[in-house]
Subunit: 141 residues, 2 copies
């Protein structure tokens, strides 16, 4: 699935992401980057709303797993998440979710193929550390 395909998939399947203006900026061996403009996501202080930040970080985690297993190969659900809001995000929201190392990914995929169920904990950072996210996701065939 290419970047445009992921973006269309998100907007169609999770409609609030269209209202938020979520874009897929890039995906490579290193990381997935999602963005959203501040305008539809601002809070009462004119900075990014914590709920939008949480949503985008969660989406980045989904995205890394979809790209890993193929979004038509199984469900992905989030089991738990933790967020630290270190400082306000005052412009475009940009969430970077690094791909885990090759060994972790191989073990995740092996479990998924063998048992039809596998979990992975991912981190994401928004605004160069303004928000730190960690979430545990489960892929189910």
């Amino acid at each position: 699935m290419n970047l445009q395909g992921i973006e269309s998939y998100l907007h169609r399947e999770i409609p609030i992401t269209a209202a938020m203006g979520v874009r897929v900026e890039s995906y490579d061996e290193k990381e997935l980057i999602l963005t959203a403009p501040l305008e539809p996501n601002h809070n009462h202080l004119g900075t990014a709303f914590g709920g939008s930040l949480s949503a985008i970080a969660t989406l980045a985690g989904y995205g890394v797993i979809w790209l890993e297993i193929g979004h038509d190969q199984g469900h992905v659900v989030v089991k738990d998440s933790r967020l630290r809001f270190v400082r306000p995000v005052e412009g475009e929201i940009r969430a970077v979710c690094p791909r885990p190392d090759a060994g972790t990914l191989a073990a995740f995929r092996k479990r998924f193929e063998e048992t039809g169920r596998s979990r992975l904990t991912l981190s994401a950072s928004i605004g160069d550390g303004a928000v730190e996210f960690e979430g545990t996701f489960v892929a189910i065939r």
Copy 2:
């Protein structure tokens, strides 16, 4: 501020809450209850999107603090949050945020009045325990 007032304030100041269809169902001495329909907040599985659930729980926390100190008396920001997604939310999203006990609230207000800054940790539950949220909020005059 009455319930309609809070709802208008949310939709105006945090526009994504209007797209999400967030409503203030009730507020009393015991708790604040926010709701949102599933339709604009569903995910790729047809259940409530984790990001929307996180956003509504965060809003419920803001709401309890605004109602406590008056939304024109200071800023409220969220410092950190933790979510556990126990089971899917398959219908209307309904977030219940209990008010802390009287002693905790009195201490929170006293610190706010004396120092202009005070923090409070709040819990919220969505769908009778389907999602459990805990967040730490800071009010700043």
